[in-house]
């Protein structure tokens, strides 16, 4: 069955344990950045930060709400990156993780074209810009832990407030619905249930998602199915158009006068 994680934004306190455990499990270097005048440094994912927690201050009347959102790869059910890759560098495993294979031994078929980065609706894949031969990097859902040891992802393990819950996606959806039912504060929406065909990571919140930097009202159709709607016509166009052209050429040829092309053209003499 396909695994998932339910992120309950009401429970997150922005301790950033998830960021630390992600780095230590995945051996990602910590590079000191420059000072930035905000709370959520580094604020956006890059090739060494596969998960970040972003801060959002929301004013509702005289009330100020401070909310924190953990971000990482959403692990789409039908990943745009996987379909966009022309060398099968991404795989959606049956466990639910979307992983990039080329960093594994003998799997280096990534060309570095970065179309996955254009294709991802969540802006997740990052590139090792500073390297001569960069890889694409992103959250792997701790696939190694999941598969070999049956463990939950490192970030979930380290979360002290149970803001993250790992389990079967279907069960998590039921749980999310139950929480939303029981507490009227929640927004009646599970982000990731249907967005772009659904994602393995799901979010619930007491603040509208568009105020937390989520792109809302997006397509419920997956991106691969959009592309396929166009690509499926390729063979018909190839043979159909080819046949039409051949027929036209044959038809018009009979009526055209014969030309001796060799006598028509000459090199330019510019001396």
């Amino acid at each position: 069955m396909s695994k998932g994680v339910l992120v309950d934004i009401t429970r997150c306190i922005a301790c950033r344990s998830c960021m630390v455990s992600c780095k230590s499990w995945n051996d990602l270097p910590s590079i000191p950045g420059s000072f930035s005048n905000n709370w959520d440094s580094p604020g956006k994912m890059d090739s060494n930060n596969w998960t970040v927690v972003t801060n959002h201050i929301i004013e509702e009347g005289d009330q100020i709400k401070w909310r924190f959102v953990k971000r990482q790869c959403m692990h789409c059910l039908e990943p745009a990156c996987e379909s966009a890759c022309f060398t099968h560098a991404f795989v959606k495993t049956k466990e639910g993780a979307v992983i990039y294979k080329p960093t594994e031994v003998n799997k280096d078929y990534c060309v570095g074209c970065r179309y996955c980065m254009i294709a991802c609706p969540f802006g997740v894949p990052s590139f090792q810009w500073e390297k001569t031969f960069p890889f694409v990097q992103k959250c792997r859902f701790c696939y190694d832990r999941m598969k070999e040891e049956g463990k939950e992802p490192a970030c979930v393990t380290s979360c002290p407030t149970q803001a993250l819950k790992y389990g079967e996606r279907e069960e998590l959806l039921a749980e999310a619905r139950a929480r939303i039912e029981q507490n009227p504060n929640y927004v009646k929406h599970i982000y990731g249930e249907k967005e772009y065909g659904g994602t393995s990571w799901l979010y619930i919140s007491d603040v509208p998602f568009d105020k937390l930097g989520f792109r809302t009202n997006v397509s419920e159709k997956s991106i691969p199915s959009y592309t396929w709607d166009v690509l499926k016509w390729t063979p018909y166009i190839f043979f159909g158009w080819g046949a039409i052209l051949t027929a036209m050429r044959a038809y018009t040829k009979r009526r055209a006068a014969v030309h001796h092309e060799e006598d028509m053209y000459a090199p330019v003499d510019d001396e």
């Binding site: 294709a119 960069p134 890889f135 166009v230 040829k253 060799e262 090199p267 330019v268 001396e271």
Partner: protein, 390 residues
């Protein structure tokens, strides 16, 4: 300058300048291959594609559209009056594709893996189709050009083989570019909800292939006039003028489909909402589509060299403008961050287009590409005479 007995290449100050640009670009490219993309470009996670993909690849391929539209008109429909421009169009198209392939090679991060898509069939990717079609079409064009090459470099057996292959090559040489010109548009279908709705459409592939096709005659006009000026020849005005009929009809259809598509998707009013995107869209539509349509349809403008040239320049600039809008303007809001090409990205781009000009000059000076000059003294004296007596 003569190279051996059969080859020549004239050296002018302008060409020396171009050669310097090429050398700088070669140096910068070597640096990029050794030290990586981050060291020479301003690309980032927000802007994974920049000048090389947006301009050199997308616009380069579109501008090379003259190759396949001319091939269709001349070799499939056999409109023989356009024969004089056929070879020049093929040549520019071929060089354009080689430039596009070079810029693609420069742009990919793991360039030693460039051949992988030939063996790992990611057929569900639009890029897969683009990659295969562009590679195959470049090969087809090289073979088509081989037919011309062997007119000068005598090798009868090869010439005969190529001659026999010419029909299938010509057909492939239209089908393949039709497919990937449209696929270049399909590439941006994945940006649903992100590319500004004035540009995002399921019809993107149609708009891309259609505009690449009607761009062809305009591009032929522009480059034909440039070549005529450079070599002090008579521009093929009658050919340019009569080609505008193709462009005109196709542009009107383009405009109608564009408007219908906007109305169908319910975003027509967005064109007038005063945002930066909407203004850029209006400029694209009015200056670069409607104005050329008007110019092409007025007889007294179309039949003059300046008129047909100005309108054609607008069409060419318009297609570039459209591609830039799709890649940059339309995506800016969703991608965040900012991107402006670094000096090295510019220099490499300039170097590549300089190389295009140099190769073009070398080839037309050494191979039978442009039509033989008639004795213009004779022709012009007749028209002079008429005017004199009238």
């Amino acid at each position: 300058m003569r190279i051996g007995k059969n080859w020549k290449f004239k050296i002018t100050p302008f060409r020396i300048l171009l050669i310097i640009f090429v050398l700088i670009a070669v140096g910068a490219s070597l640096y990029r291959f050794i030290f990586g993309l981050g060291s020479v470009t301003n690309l980032s996670d927000e802007w994974p594609w920049g000048l090389w993909i947006g301009f050199d690849l997308l616009c380069g391929i579109a501008l090379a559209g003259g190759g396949f539209s001319t091939a269709l008109i001349v070799h499939v429909l056999h409109k023989d009056k356009y024969l004089p421009i056929a070879r020049a169009a093929l040549l520019t198209s071929l060089i354009g594709y080689i430039i596009a392939l070079v810029s693609l090679f420069l742009d990919i991060g793991r360039w030693f893996n460039f051949w992988r898509p030939f063996f790992y069939w990611g057929y569900h990717s639009v890029l897969f189709e683009v990659f295969w079609c562009i590679s195959l079409y470049t090969t087809v064009q090289i073979l088509e050009f081989g037919d011309i090459f062997f007119e000068k470099v005598k090798c009868p057996p090869l010439k005969r083989i190529l001659g026999a292959l010419m029909t299938p090559l010509l057909i492939l040489g239209i089908v393949l570019p039709s497919l990937h010109q449209s696929s270049l548009g399909s590439l941006y279908i994945v940006t649903v909800d992100r590319l500004y709705p004035l540009w995002w459409s399921m019809l993107l592939p149609f708009f891309f292939v259609w505009s690449a096709f009607f761009l062809g005659p305009a591009m032929v006009t522009v480059e034909g006039t440039l070549a005529a000026r450079a070599y002090k020849r008579e521009p093929e005005l009658h050919v340019f003028e009569s080609l505008t009929k193709v462009t005109l009809v196709m542009m009107i259809i383009y405009l109608i489909v564009k408007i219908a598509d906007l109305v169908y998707r319910g975003v027509f009013s967005m064109a007038f909402n005063g945002s930066f995107e909407s203004n850029m869209f209006l400029i694209e539509m009015i200056v670069f589509v409607i104005v050329p349509i008007i110019m092409y349809s007025i007889n007294s403008i179309r039949t003059k060299l300046w008129g047909v040239l100005t309108a054609s320049i607008l069409v060419v600039a318009g297609v570039i403008f459209n591609r830039m809008n799709v890649v940059f303007t339309g995506m800016a809001d969703a991608m965040g961050g900012h991107y402006f090409p670094s000096i090295w990205e510019w220099l490499i781009t300039i170097g590549m287009w300089s190389a295009l000009v140099l190769i073009y000059c070398f080839v037309v000076e050494n191979f039978p590409i442009l039509p033989k000059e008639e004795q213009h003294g004779h022709g012009s004296s007749i028209s002079y005479g008429k005017a004199f007596h009238a």
